[in-house]
């Protein structure tokens, strides 16, 4: 399964009022083809800690898209993310098993016997969408995310490589950050986080009884 197809399908499962933060040059360029307000492109290593901070300050769902190399370099920050208990934080990790720059040079991820177990022990809810995306079942992923609460990590195993001739990101960081910040602070957009239909009140009375 190619990463550009996976990214396209994942973005279809994300609502308009959700926040998307991408990290990694190739992923940022792929996502930029489908740019909307609320998408932030970071080439920095502190993208996940930035995402934790944003998730702490908003009730909107936040998706971070990264690759397995980023995850391996920042396992300590993933631990921080899991312990933050931010229910609106969803991390999608595209696992290629090799380095971006040298296409078939493997990284150590294939030697990790149980990636899901590792992240589960940290405190994440762990999903694997490889089979669903192979079947192009993005509606089911969308339905899962509608009711899911984080912190959640979704793994997707993809083929190495990205689209060729990706256009450069035509965005100034300051301008992108300003638009992003306005989007996050905009409470009128609401949130796609699942809200139970009844108020969580000790003195809860059913509507019929009233």
């Amino acid at each position: 399964m190619k990463s550009q197809n996976v990214i396209r399908q994942i973005l279809k499962s994300i609502q308009d009022n959700d926040i998307v933060i991408c990290t990694g040059e190739k992923i940022c360029k792929e996502v930029f083809k489908y740019h909307k307000t609320g998408y932030l492109y970071l080439s920095k290593e502190n993208a996940l800690s930035f995402a934790i901070g944003v998730a702490n300050g908003t009730d909107k769902k936040l998706f971070l898209l990264c690759d397995d190399n980023y995850a391996l370099r920042n396992l300590d920050v993933f631990l921080q993310a899991a312990s933050s208990r931010c229910s609106n934080l969803f991390v999608v990790v595209l696992i290629t098993g090799c380095y971006d720059e040298i296409k078939y040079m493997p990284n150590i991820i294939s030697n990790v016997s149980n990636m899901s177990g590792l992240f589960f022990s940290m405190g994440f809810i762990v999903h694997d969408y490889t089979k669903k995306l192979l079947k192009k079942d993005y509606k089911e992923i969308e339905a899962t995310w509608t009711r899911a609460r984080g912190p959640l990590v979704a793994f997707v195993y993809v083929e190495p490589g990205y689209s060729s001739n990706l256009p450069d990101l035509d965005l100034n960081l300051e301008k992108n950050l300003l638009e992003f910040s306005d989007f996050v602070k905009n409470k009128q957009l609401g949130t796609s986080m699942f809200i139970p239909p009844l108020p969580l009140d000790d003195n809860m009375v059913l509507l019929e009884e009233k």
């Binding site: 920095k44 290593e45 502190n46 993208a47 996940l48 800690s49 930035f50 995402a51 934790i52 901070g53 944003v54 998730a55 702490n56 300050g57 908003t58 300590d76 920050v77 631990l79 921080q80 933050s84 960081l173 300051e174 950050l177 992003f180 910040s181 996050v184 602070k185």
Partner: protein
């Protein structure tokens, strides 16, 4: 020379100036600052490394809330500030990595005025404190 109790510091930063999110890694000089923390007026997240603390503070700032980071000078020297957002860094000594610093022993400008001025900028500023001994 300004001496300030931790309670008064938090009263100023949290209740008056509305800095509600703190993150960082403790060091010796901020022992009383940590003892004075309370979830009644602030939210503190312990960080695994200085870059995480800074990243979280930037994220909270981007979400519209004022944030502070508590790190010692050596950690501040090693940071790279990639976002054009104003952050307060509480540290023990001024750092060459940050151009604007408030030294709590300096009475030429009040802390409140310094913090208010820094909010209009796009770069982090530091507040250097001692442990009062």
């Amino acid at each position: 020379m300004i001496f300030m109790k931790a309670k008064d510091f938090y009263d100023l930063m949290c209740n008056k100036l509305n800095y509600r999110f703190f993150s960082g890694m403790p060091f010796k000089e901020v022992k009383f600052l940590f003892l004075g923390m309370s979830p009644d007026f602030m939210h503190y997240v312990p960080a695994t490394k200085p870059d995480s603390a800074l990243g979280m503070a930037y994220g909270v700032r981007a979400a519209g809330f004022k944030s502070c980071v508590i790190l010692d000078r050596e950690c501040v020297d090693g940071l790279s500030f990639g976002f054009p957002l104003p952050i307060i860094i509480i540290t023990n000594e001024p750092s060459n990595n940050v151009s604007d610093n408030f030294y709590l022993k300096d009475d030429s400008i009040s802390l409140e005025a310094f913090v208010t001025r820094s909010e209009k900028g796009k770069t982090p500023v530091t507040i250097s404190i001692g442990d009062g001994s």
